[in-house]
């Protein structure tokens, strides 16, 4: 759980780097992340890139559907790392 929280904090920090105006406090962790934060395909690939750099986890394209909310993404990273 603690691990999940720290991964979530890291992801939030990386999101803010890409979308500085994102309101993460009011973000429903189960909602579609890109929809909620208006991330385009370029933003999303940049987010995955910075996640790969920080955590060593490469999310392949075939797993995009497994990481499309903040909760899913956090869990995915927790199980992979």
């Amino acid at each position: 759980m603690n691990n999940n929280q720290s991964i979530k904090d890291l992801v939030c920090m990386l999101i803010l780097d890409i979308a500085p105006e994102a309101d993460l406090h009011n973000l429903d962790p189960n909602e579609d992340l890109r929809e909620e934060l208006d991330l385009d395909s370029m933003d999303f690939i940049n987010l995955l890139d910075s996640i790969a750099t920080k955590t060593g986890v490469n999310v392949p394209e075939s797993d995009y559907s497994k990481v499309n909310s903040l909760a899913l993404l956090t869990n995915y990273l927790a199980t992979q790392s």
Binding site: A52, P60, E61
Partner: protein, 415 residues
């Protein structure tokens, strides 16, 4: 001597601030040197010079905010001989993006005005200067003394107007008019608010486009299955930073196809169309803080997909974080407007003068699609083309879209 003015980096830019001069009086500069950093509502842009020469005067100080078109420096050109015989296109001083400009010299509507208005690039090229020089030798209008004095005071080169609204086409006081001259209160009320200014600048550009350019619109639904399958193979074992997005493949197909259809790539100025030899693909980038920035991908038809993808990534990041170069903001010969994944199915766009075509790319979506007599699931994208009917016809526009479709069926050739 060439007057450098506050450049326009887009239809919605009204003001810019010189944050830093990289040169001082007397410095030698070469074409391509970055002489200043300019802060705009859209971030920091690096300003280049387009000539060799030396800086003779800096007219504004660091920290000063001035309107687009206001002179900011004087450049002594390396080869001054030909331009000594005159005019340094003083009309540059007029705010080209201002809505009022169009109406104020409407009476003088001539190909010359069209050219100047059409040319959003503030720094005038040698070619167009030469053209203007020639024109003046052949036809110099009459001008009233009052009008001449006002023109000189405002820094407008009246010789560039072929005729005025007075007797025998003489230029009279009313013809020499720029927004600044209008009632001061009116200006301070509305124009000073930045978002208002941005709205006005956009409004001036799109209104002019719709007024002057007879648009026609075409649209084709393109099946992307081959492109997507090919990309998922290509991207399978790559880290995110090396993956190619389907947009890059679509951009590439458009750039390659345009090389066979020059009537859609270039500038319409001075009553005629000049095709461009290279495709400088204007990518309309949506900015998080609001607004759009169109950055040109130079020579896009020559780039392989990997290179093109790197260019797009780099440009989008610089557009959002600052550091785009002025040439990237001004060179586009054709524009792409992309709705992104969560936009609408299609978009019909307004051409950016003096360009003659703009593509609109809708969101990708899955639909039932008949292939070989069976209904399959296909991922399609609607690609629209708005083009200038003075330059091309729907028939060739349709062939262009079909060529793009064909390229997207064999994405490996774009590699």
């Amino acid at each position: 001597m060439k007057t450098l003015t506050m450049p326009s980096f887009g239809a919605d830019m009204a003001m810019g601030t010189i944050v830093k001069w990289n040169v001082k009086q007397g410095d030698l500069v070469s074409k391509g040197d970055i002489i200043a950093s300019i802060e705009t509502m859209k971030g920091l842009i690096d300003m280049e010079v387009f000539d060799d020469g030396s800086i003779s005067t800096l007219l504004v100080s660091e920290g000063d905010e001035v309107e687009v078109g206001v002179p900011i420096a004087e450049l002594q050109l390396k080869n001054e001989n030909y331009s000594n015989n005159k005019p340094e296109l003083k009309l540059e001083n007029v705010s080209l993006d201002s809505g009022e400009l169009d109406t104020s010299i409407d009476v003088n509507k001539t190909p010359v005005d069209d050219q100047i208005l059409a040319d959003k690039r503030i720094l005038v090229t040698k070619d167009s200067q030469d053209q203007n020089v020639n024109r003046q030798n052949t036809q110099q209008p009459k001008i009233s003394p009052a009008a001449r004095s006002r023109a000189e005071r405002l820094g407008i080169d009246w010789r560039l107007l072929s005729k005025g609204s007075g007797p025998d086409g003489a230029i009279v006081l009313d013809d020499i008019n720029i927004p600044d001259e209008k009632s001061a209160e009116q200006v301070s009320d509305t124009v000073k608010d930045p978002s208002n200014m941005m709205r006005q600048a956009i409004s001036a550009t799109v209104s002019r486009s719709k007024r002057e350019i007879p648009h026609y619109y075409l649209q084709l639904d393109i099946v992307l299955n081959n492109t997507i399958n090919w990309l998922s193979d290509h991207n399978a074992n790559l880290p995110p930073s090396k993956r190619i997005l389907s947009n890059a493949v679509i951009y590439s197909a458009i750039a390659r196809a345009l090389t066979s259809f020059p009537a859609f790539n270039g500038f319409y100025r001075d009553g005629h169309f000049q095709p461009s030899e290279s495709v400088h693909l204007g990518n309309a980038i949506n900015l998080r803080q609001g607004g759009l920035m169109v950055a040109a991908i130079h020579d896009a038809q020559r780039l392989g997909l990997i290179e093109l993808m790197e260019k797009i990534t780099d440009q989008v990041s610089r557009a959002r974080k600052g550091g785009l170069r002025m040439s990237e903001m001004q060179d586009a010969t054709v524009t792409l407007s992309n709705m992104g994944d969560r936009g609408t199915d299609s978009i019909q766009s307004i051409i950016f003068p003096p360009q003659v075509a703009i593509f609109g790319i809708g969101r990708q979506r899955e639909v039932p699609w008949v292939i070989d007599n069976t209904v399959n699931i296909a991922t399609i994208v609607s690609v629209s083309l708005a083009a200038d009917h003075r330059v091309s016809d729907g028939h060739s526009g349709a062939r262009l879209l079909n060529k793009i479709n064909k390229l997207l069926q064999t994405p490996e050739v774009l590699m």
